[in-house]
């Protein structure tokens, strides 16, 4: 299907590139279907574009890029909601807030977005035991990471969910 995006023009999104978030993103109760867009720039930031409302788009980044010791513990009921049978089948992303002053950017480590890569289901989880901040400043760390090696420039594209990196930074709480 052809999808209108907020920043990336019209994009062709295939069925298998649609990410369903059945419980929605807190604050956006009407948005359930999304796709991920790689702007093609040299950052590792990807964009969660709603297919329900063109104006709803959020920047995402893997937390390990700026906080290597970040871990996520899921409860059995969260695993069930995500239909997750193995911890090796999901990706973890932090939602970023990037204000006009980019140096003040922050990541929400308290409520990451988890994506079941094969089933293409996402869920924003509020972590119980984490002391992760919802507004974790990470510009300096990301800048350091970028200076060590950035992504190659690539064409603007819709991200295939199966190509996302499996996160090994989380665990099921037993």
């Amino acid at each position: 299907m052809l999808v209108k995006t907020k920043y990336f023009g019209m994009l062709e999104v295939e069925e298998k590139e649609v990410l369903k978030i059945p419980n929605g993103i807190l604050g956006f109760p009407e948005d359930r279907d999304f796709c991920l867009v790689d702007s093609g720039d040299e950052t590792f930031i990807i964009w969660l574009q709603s297919l329900n409302h063109v104006d709803m788009v959020l920047p995402l980044l893997e937390p390990k890029l700026f906080k290597p010791d970040y871990t996520v513990k899921l409860s059995p009921s969260e695993c069930a909601k995500l239909e997750l049978e193995s911890v090796h089948a999901a990706a973890v992303f932090a939602i970023l807030t990037i204000p006009e002053c980019i140096e003040s950017m922050s990541a929400n480590l308290k409520a990451p977005l988890l994506i079941h890569l094969k089933k293409r289901i996402g869920m924003q989880v509020i972590l119980q035991d984490s002391h992760g901040s919802i507004e974790y400043p990470m510009f300096k760390q990301l800048k350091l990471h970028t200076s060590l090696g950035s992504k190659e420039q690539a064409p603007l594209s819709v991200v295939s969910l199966e190509s996302l990196p499996v996160s090994l930074t989380f665990d099921v709480q037993l």
């Binding site: 807190l26 604050g27 720039d41 930031i45 920047p59 409860s75 970023l96 807030t97 119980q128």
Partner: protein
């Protein structure tokens, strides 16, 4: 909404596995203890509102092509 009156040290039971105890009463503050199975999610209600607000702030992020790279790679 069901409203129950409890004294210090008393509790209420929800289902078979969840127990909420009044641990301390001090002025306008009440300390509650919650006993629940480990998979039960328990949060202060404000956390939901805070995350909603943060998500809305995140959605105000403006993408300007090339700008992020420039700032992240700049010295």
């Amino acid at each position: 909404m069901l409203v129950l009156t409890r004294k210090l040290g008393e509790s209420i039971a929800i289902d078979d596995h969840i127990k909420i105890v009044v641990v301390q009463i001090k002025g306008k503050q009440v300390r509650l203890g919650v006993q629940a199975p480990q998979e039960t999610k328990i949060h202060r209600e404000e956390i939901y509102a805070a995350i909603q607000e943060q998500n809305k702030k995140a959605a105000q992020t403006v993408f300007v092509p090339g700008q992020l790279v420039r700032v992240l790679k700049g010295s």
